[in-house]
Symmetry: C2
Subunit: 212 residues, 2 copies
DNA sequence: TGTACATCAGTGAACGCGCGTTCACTGATGTAC
DNA sequence: TGTACATCAGTGAACGCGCGTTCACTGATGTAC
């Protein structure tokens, strides 16, 4: 209570940045207890604000959660794009870097990842949310297109299919093995090694020779 | 209220099979609203019993959920084993049938699947739960062992790795695309087609030639 | 630069609700003799 | 076969609690002139 009062004195009557503070609070609470493990009132409390205040910024808990997810997709897209690096040094390497970036995101931002994929939000709850998700997937798709273009014309699989395969591999590994602290199975290899080997085998199956 | 009274008259003071009825109620509620979307009291209500009754059978909501998951793993194991069919007609085909069985389970039993993989239960919450999960995975592992044994001695990957890859592929596809009614992305191909093509490419990458 | 005023972003009290949990109880069932 | 009794599996009333939500309010900020 003491710190709360002090904080109030510091910040004055108006918070100034409550919207972002609530998103931040939600992220911390999700990281602690999962996307189902916090309430609207919790978020308000964490932000040091009365229980009625969040209503000035979000219609309800789901709207807050959707904003966390939307923000997550934006950062996710940026991270994947960095991994892709416009196809440098070459499409195949860059594609695998996208996979690594995917896993790195799931690992370093488990709260965002959970809000994006495990909160049970309908993807079209909100147009911006859907758009943000689509933009992130577009990175994967672009990468897949560049990779299949490397194959001889006769044996190119559909790029969309390949992008979906990659998504499924990365998501499968991330959600089964890629959560550091969430008491998961113990294995003789890391999630990163699993994803890398899986992608290598998959690419070999597409016709790429493994000599690199 | 009428039907409740009538049902009471039908069944008398004792329910007779409340434990199973609660698990069944939980499954239905999970199917409707997700693993986080029901309460202990809900389950009691669905089973037509007072809110205090479940305490005679389960310590709390998590214990009930864990039992749903345990039962789910048992059926899952049976379904995977049926797909495997002791490696008939041949290891490769049987392996792919395990993949199909995995997806079929996720699709036909979304409530079990959610309790098993998305309820956020720690896998070692309970020894029986963990054991049931391990037994299901053992089917995958057995299948992977038979498959790698087909390869020439020099190029066999570790069977455990292959089993984990298969698990990740199936889980990735199932959780991203394999939920019928849960308003997911619309795609030009089915989850089944995606998983089958992915597994074929993967197997090809391991060195199996695609002529079958 | 000052002043009046509109608007914004908070407060805190209040409410109804359903949940989890406990408790003494009671009806039904099983068993010993 | 009957009877007494222990045990089991339910009831329903009660409780404290925290949540979601509304409301009139108020302090702070921005803007017109």
């Amino acid at each position: 209570m003491g710190w709360k009062k002090r904080e109030r004195e510091e910040r004055g009557y108006h918070h100034g940045n409550l919207r972002e503070a609530l998103i931040q609070a939600a992220r911390e609470l999700i990281a602690e207890k999962g996307p189902a493990g916090f309430t609207f009132a919790d978020a308000a409390r964490s932000a040091g604000v009365s229980a009625a205040a969040p209503y000035r910024h979000f219609r309800d808990r789901d709207a807050l959660l959707a904003d966390v997810a939307r923000e997550g997709f934006q950062r996710f897209e940026a991270m994947l794009a960095t991994g892709w690096a416009n196809g440098r040094p070459d499409a195949l390497t860059a594609f695998q870097n996208v996979g690594k970036a995917y896993l790195a995101f799931a690992r370093s931002e488990p709260a965002y990842y959970a809000a994006m994929f495990e909160a049970g939000l309908p993807p079209d709850l909100n147009a911006e949310l859907r758009a943000a998700g689509d933009r992130a997937f577009a990175v994967l798709r672009t990468a897949a297109e560049a990779v299949v273009a490397q194959l001889p014309a006769g044996q190119r699989p559909p790029a969309l299919m390949m992008a979906l395969h990659a998504w499924a591999m990365a998501h499968g590994i991330a959600s089964l093995f890629g959560r550091g602290d969430a008491g998961r199975r113990s294995l003789p290899m890391t999630a990163e090694e699993l994803l890398e080997s899986q992608m290598l085998i998959y690419l070999q199956g597409l016709g790429f020779t493994g000599n690199r």
